[in-house]
């Protein structure tokens, strides 16, 4: 019989994804009440927004500023919202393992559980790292461009999920990831970098105890849906292919994501039903008083937008050894400042 382990499940989100993170954590509590739950919050509250967790929230908050990242303001300035939310994952993982958890499971905020993750727990008995690949089988037709080429650009594994055991190799992997993300967590596909995700292509070579989870019920999304069609059956089961659905990854379902799901759903309406269920859960957990598209790091202190050019300029400045104290307070855009220097 397995010894009882202390597991933490964490996610990383800004306020605009808080409704999804809350939905995620409600499903995590439903199926794994024995896991602790931590939100890594990569944001500051908008005026009028309460910072405390609201009633009904079932997780602890770990702020981006509590992760021990040096030169925080300038570092944050380099990253857009996706880049920063993913960049903190490594540091958060190390901190949680350092706090004494036996296992850490990361899940993206736009994921929802439909069953227990028993296979992950079994794998962690023997392996230090568990990853789910974007694809488990070669594609056909439109899928080659949509999915295979995409996996080559964005990473073999989808880092909407990661599980790490607090053992020597697991810790080495966590520290390696943290270090890389502090330096190179950017959307820079031509240079082989895609945020936090593409790094893990190296993992099987670096860390022999990496396990690739091949159960089709894990991390189902539009990019692999055609290989594991969702069915809802008379016996009440919800399957992905032939396996029970464990968790579904609802990427960008408010925009292009839904059409991608429909394109790959085949004739079945099951995906549409699950999508409706998910949208209703997210609506129930909406954050009140949140301005549309809000993110604290998207503007200077005086409200001017921080542009991509500004961010790229900051990366060049930091690479050259310059570390501005509080670039968000600059009255001149950083891109201009760099040009002048």
């Amino acid at each position: 019989m397995t010894e009882r382990r202390r597991t933490v499940c964490f996610t990383s989100a800004s306020y605009s994804y808080l409704d999804r993170a809350r939905t995620l954590f409600h499903t995590v509590e439903e199926f794994h009440p024995e896991w602790d739950r931590v939100l890594v919050l990569v944001d500051e509250p908008a005026p009028g927004l309460t910072e405390r967790p609201e009633v009904g929230d079932n997780y602890r908050t770990l702020k981006y500023s509590e992760l021990g990242i040096e030169g925080l303001s300038a570092w944050a300035f380099e990253h857009n919202v996706v880049e920063m939310c993913t960049a903190v994952k490594g540091a958060a993982l190390c901190q949680l393992l350092g706090a004494g958890y036996d296992r850490a499971v990361y899940l993206d905020p736009d994921i929802a559980l439909f069953g227990r993750m028993d296979e992950v727990e079994s794998l962690l008995e023997v392996h230090d790292i568990v990853l789910t690949p974007h694809l488990l089988a070669p594609e056909r037709g439109m899928g080659i461009e949509d999915n295979e080429l995409s996996a080559l650009k964005h990473g073999v594994f989808n880092l909407g999920f990661l599980a790490v055991a607090n053992r020597p190799e697991g810790n080495r992997a966590a520290q390696w990831w943290r270090d890389r993300l502090l330096q190179f967590c950017f959307e820079d596909i031509p240079n082989g970098v895609f945020t936090d995700q593409k790094w893990w292509d190296l993992a099987p070579a670096f860390f022999p105890s990496t396990a690739v989870l091949r159960h089709r019920g894990y991390n189902v999304a539009s990019w692999n849906l055609s290989d594991r069609l969702i069915s809802i059956n008379r016996d009440g089961s919800v399957l992905a292919g032939a396996e029970p659905l464990v968790f579904f990854h609802f990427t960008k379902v408010d925009t292009v994501g839904e059409e991608m799901l429909v394109r790959y759903a085949g004739n079945s309406t099951a995906v549409l039903e699950i999508l409706k269920w998910y949208r209703a859960r997210v609506r129930e957990r909406a954050v009140s008083n949140l301005p549309k598209g809000y993110w604290h790091f998207s503007t200077y202190a005086d409200g001017r937008a921080v542009t991509r050019e500004d961010r790229l300029a900051m990366r060049r400045l930091r690479a050259a050894g310059k570390n501005p104290d509080d670039p968000f307070r600059s009255l001149v855009s950083i891109a201009q400042l760099e040009g002048a220097v």
């Binding site: 809802i232 009440g236 919800v238 039903e273």
Partner: protein, 518 residues
């Protein structure tokens, strides 16, 4: 070629006129209107092209400032662009599915005048026999449907047998869910006369004060809109001799009375704790709903009646209740006649019909898809017989309004005969408990194409020896019609006309007669 030339190839003037004609001067050239300004106003040229959707989905067309329909016909279609939201009909059904809220209540006292009227009506009723208390989900005298027809039949039998017929319908019509436990007000009709809204307490008092020594009999045809707890209390207070409960659908098992998960797929009623129930919009309400109905059935020791064996089996699986005292009682019989069906005039096109409203559970979405596919096929003409509701009517399906009411029970059969329908497509998306349309189609001598697994319908056809074409999916349906051989054979086979004879509901059941005379 001009826009008008290109768009004109597939422009549907009948559709455009029906949708937007009301706001246009008569005599307007609809095609020209669409090409000049209609598309800019977001108007659709046909029912399968969604102008607004196309422009929202393909910003390059917006930038080119060209007529989106023209673009689609010239290039978009070949490029694989979508003319409307993919899977739009089913997505609309799923998105609209929701467990209804109970309206805010003002009072539970009912109308005292109505209460008095009822008490006087019962006390002074000339009818010497006992009281039948009939319960259903709406006022049978004001609306149409299979259940309403059964209630009407029972009301008529009650008159013939000198019984008082007291009908209870919900005070909030049209809310398909159980009322809260504390809800006690119902709408009352006594011996055909509308009385008003009366509370449970006043109802009990009126029934007890009727001076009739025989205990009333309860016949429940549907619980939607009622509080089962209030009803059980009423049954106990008036010391009912027996309670008969008709399972005309599967409302006993779930608020989704046809067991359509998210209104879209027949689910059979899996365990309420299942993953399937979890993702269904009716899932959260189901455990309590199921518990309230089963408690009710136990409390009043209901004799449960099913219109077919198939319905009883499905009910048993969905409610997880044993069938010990349940009975099977068909709602009608087919009386074949000796008259052979003959089609007058030309054999083609074959007339293919959908029987019933243009609603998803009745298979309308699939019939529409079939008709759309074959709209230019000279072998077939497509018709819909039934309720002519507000849903858009496609130009390639002819609508024949038919209302089957208690006064004109044969309206459907007569219409099918009058229009010489060759093939009836019976494509219910759920388990039909009985399937009146199958009987009507047989009585009208139609060849039948039926969806496998649609509950009692395939069994009813087989029981009558009616050689129907049983198919599994929409793809199979389309292929069968495109190939045509099996369909032509079906249309050409010899069939007799007949008549549908209703069995007068509860009055057709031995146990009911026994209870009546106890």
């Amino acid at each position: 070629m001009s826009d008008v030339d290109i768009a004109g190839r597939e422009f549907d003037a009948a559709y455009y006129g029906a949708m937007y004609g009301g706001s246009l001067p008569s005599g307007t050239d609809l095609l020209a209107h669409f090409c000049e300004q209609g598309w800019k106003e977001g108007k659709n040229p046909t029912d399968w092209f969604d102008t607004r959707y196309y422009l929202a989905r393909y910003p390059d067309i917006v930038a080119a400032q060209m007529n989106p329909f023209v673009h689609f016909l010239l290039a978009g279609r070949i490029e694989g662009r979508e003319p409307q939201r993919p899977l739009n009909p089913v997505r609309s059904v799923i998105e609209a599915a929701r467990y209804p809220d109970w309206p805010a209540e003002v009072s539970q006292l009912g109308d005292r005048t109505a209460a008095q009227l009822l008490a006087d009506g019962l006390a002074s009723s000339p009818r010497r026999g006992r009281t039948i208390v009939s319960v259903s989900h709406d006022d049978y005298a004001l609306s149409l449907g299979g259940i309403q027809n059964v209630v009407s039949d029972e009301a008529q039998e009650a008159v013939a047998l000198d019984l008082n017929f007291l009908h209870l319908s919900p005070s909030h019509a049209g809310v398909i869910r159980l009322a809260p436990a504390e809800h006690t007000v119902v709408r009352v009709r006594l011996n055909g006369e509308a009385i008003g809204e009366v509370s449970s307490a006043d109802l009990a008092a009126a029934i007890r004060g009727a001076g009739n020594t025989s205990r009333p009999l309860f016949v429940i045809h549907h619980l939607a809109g009622h509080s089962p707890e209030s009803l059980a209390s009423l049954i106990e207070r008036v010391q009912a001799a027996a309670t008969f409960y008709w399972a005309h659908d599967y409302f006993s098992a779930c608020p989704s009375y046809a067991l359509l998960r998210n209104d879209i797929e027949f689910c059979g009623g899996p365990p309420p704790s299942s993953a399937a129930c979890r993702v269904c919009t009716y899932g959260p309400a189901r455990p309590q709903h199921l518990e309230r109905v089963t408690s009710f059935l136990d409390r009043v020791q209901a004799i449960v009646l099913h219109p077919s064996r198939s319905a009883a089996r499905t009910w048993q699986k969905a409610t997880r209740r044993a069938l010990q005292s349940n009975k099977v009682a068909p709602l009608a019989k087919l009386l074949p006649s000796a008259t052979v069906r003959r089609r007058e005039g030309n054999d083609l096109p074959l007339r293919v019909a959908h029987l019933g409203a243009r609603s998803y559970p009745k298979g309308w979405s699939q019939f529409e898809a079939l008709a759309f596919r074959l709209r230019k096929d000279p072998r077939y003409e497509f018709l819909q017989f039934g309720y002519d509701g507000p849903e858009v009517r496609p130009s390639y399906i002819k609508s024949i309004p038919v209302a089957v009411s208690s006064g004109s029970r044969d309206a459907m059969t007569e219409a099918l005969v009058e229009h010489q329908v060759d093939i009836a497509v019976l494509w219910s998306m759920c388990d039909e408990t009985f399937g009146f349309t199958a009987y009507e189609a047989m009585a009208a001598g139609c060849g039948v194409v039926v969806r496998a697994g649609s509950g009692n319908v395939p069994y009813a056809l087989a029981a009558e020896g009616w050689g129907a074409l049983v198919l599994g999916s929409l793809d199979d349906l389309v292929v069968a019609f495109e190939n045509g051989g099996a369909i032509a054979d079906l249309a050409a086979s010899d069939r007799n006309y007949g008549a549908v004879l209703s069995t007068a509901g509860s009055f057709g059941i031995v146990d009911f007669w026994q209870a009546l005379h106890d």
